[in-house]
Subunit: 348 residues, 2 copies
């Protein structure tokens, strides 16, 4: 590969000038610029990204850290990633997928991350990756709030998980549901902690008790139960234990579909016997499902875009020291999986 000296020599200018032509950081005369570009094309020269990074201390890449424990992407992840990539590209940044797989990895020793900043998706409590970023002094914004000791971090994007969960409960309760089963996200994630609290809160506010069988958490990725989350719980609680449950809240569409399958196996109809509410999920899937699934739209793509914008502020790409929380609204989208319970009927 041709290097800057080759171009400089052939164009009979100094390397500094060639550099200026490409970086556009200093003006150059038309004549020289043209000559340099012509020679560059001829030699097939492009500036070496790594060398440039070494001196500018910018990699023009941001890391996208996917939560450990949700390695199988859901629609939420995909849409979020879409939002991040698109927005990052807009500012000339590339996205480095930064996933810590649970499997063994060959990386012998760590090095610094070749990124200027990072978007950390759904941090867990005391998330080790957050500590890493903090130590490495890498600017980052999280989706979902940080719960690490000694780290006060106020740059994050999130839905208002408290509000969202509260709204979902009120929605269901207003339809006459009292026996609600909540299939929450992984216990480790901070969002699930918030949602659980709000679930309990909302129930209490309406004079409803929360029993143990009503809240479940998604198992770890390594767990054999991971893929069946939703199915097993439904079979167990509604089938074997014969608990009364009139509505189920599922954490994502995969879980929702598992529930649907379990309900079918139990000969229970939706929403006739049991109502189903999905937190997030892919629109086209929700629509087509039978019945179409009522859901809470978390606007993942918007979350992704906003998180990048926040990061750009931290990196100085966007003006203004904009740090803080951005709340993206969640909207209930009514479809056909939730029905109203007529309590008089139930009295016989």
């Amino acid at each position: 590969m041709a290097k800057i000296d080759d171009v400089a020599r052939l164009a009979r200018v100094s390397k500094g000038t060639v550099s200026n032509v490409f970086s556009q950081k200093r003006p150059t005369s038309d004549e020289i610029r043209e000559r340099v570009m012509r020679v560059s094309k001829q030699l097939n020269y492009v500036p070496n990204h790594t060398a440039r990074s070494l001196v500018t201390k910018k990699t023009m890449a941001i890391g996208l850290t996917i939560p450990y424990g949700s390695f199988f992407f859901t629609a939420f992840h995909m849409q979020f990633i879409n939002g991040v990539i698109l927005e990052a590209a807009y500012y000339g940044y590339r996205v480095l997928l930064d996933i810590i797989p649970s499997q063994e990895v060959k990386t012998p020793f760590l090095t610094s991350y070749p990124i200027d900043g990072a978007v950390v998706m759904r941090p867990t409590a005391n998330d080790e990756r957050i500590n890493q970023m903090h130590l490495g002094q890498i600017p980052f914004v999280t989706v979902g709030h940080v719960m690490n000791e000694n780290i006060e971090h106020f740059t994050s994007v999130d839905n208002d998980n408290h509000q969202i969960m509260y709204n979902i409960c009120e929605y269901l309760i207003s339809k006459g549901h009292k026996d609600i089963m909540f299939l929450n996200a992984s216990e480790l994630m901070t969002v699930s902690i918030d949602r659980k609290a709000s679930f309990i809160h909302a129930m209490k506010d309406h004079g409803l008790d929360v029993e143990e069988h009503m809240i479940h958490h998604k198992p770890d990725l390594d767990s054999s139960e991971y893929m069946d989350y939703g199915y097993e719980e439904t079979i167990l609680i509604l089938g074997k234990q014969k608990k009364k449950v009139t509505a189920i809240i599922a954490d994502d569409e995969r879980t929702a579909f598992s529930v649907l399958k379990a309900l079918k196996d139990l000969n229970l109809s939706v929403p006739g016997d049991v109502s189903l509410f999905v937190v997030c999920g892919d629109h086209s899937m929700m629509v087509q499902s039978n019945p179409a699934l009522t859901s809470m739209d978390l606007q993942p793509s918007e979350l992704g875009a906003q998180s990048v914008r926040l990061l750009m502020h931290q990196l100085g790409v966007l003006q203004g020291d904009f740090s803080g929380n951005i709340i993206v609204e969640g909207k209930i989208i009514e479809r056909n999986s939730v029905s109203t319970i007529d309590h008089k009927e139930k009295h016989n």
Copy 2:
């Protein structure tokens, strides 16, 4: 951030020695290694990735190039990406998402790619990105074969699209279907070219004519029709034009769901009136759909892993100059969306 000199000074060794401790390329005495590590921890030192890259000429990252025109990920993409990331991580490589968005981008001037190699997903005919890689001398493997002038490239991973399409057709024909509508992928992608050819081939082999209304191509991403692909075609051909169609082959699950919706709107049942066959698609979705969708499993995750392995051979990480095509098998998974046509019944 601490640098290697700081560590060297404090540990009273040379920078070369510190380097050796971290890179493990040369043996170091236990005593010194320990001292260096202790000081490093104390100073919070990690080797600078960029500086290392500059001299080793390795970035330890591979690019993952998602096809232009399919910016909305399907299950195929997600599973493929999963396969790539996992396998790359195993060899200590990170993955740089390398998507060329159709929108305007701020990148003023190009630089070299900070990657050691790339996986190019679903290249189009005369794919510009392939030309770029070729020019930049970046090793790459494609998923789907290359159709660029002057570029002979034999390192790719693929399903046997000819065989797959042929098998699908034979499967449908064996069930008595003669009027099959094929909702193909984007016209630009090389896979769609192969599949179209095989579709026609298979039909001809069974004495069936292929009329114009039987083959469609997914519109461009920018097109307003993109999201409705499947719905519009079904309404148009089966509804307005009242063409006889007993089976539909959909390119992905999104398209399949759109078709399902259109069919419902047309008051046509699946598989009673029309059979539906999906190429690829997410297992959990296909299973839960009503009816469960019969599909061809393309094993995207396996494709991803294999493509990385091939790339590792090219990068010398894996031994042996393994270049060529790896074919990943496609398997028909029978569920409930395809029915057998009894031709006697149709004679009244």
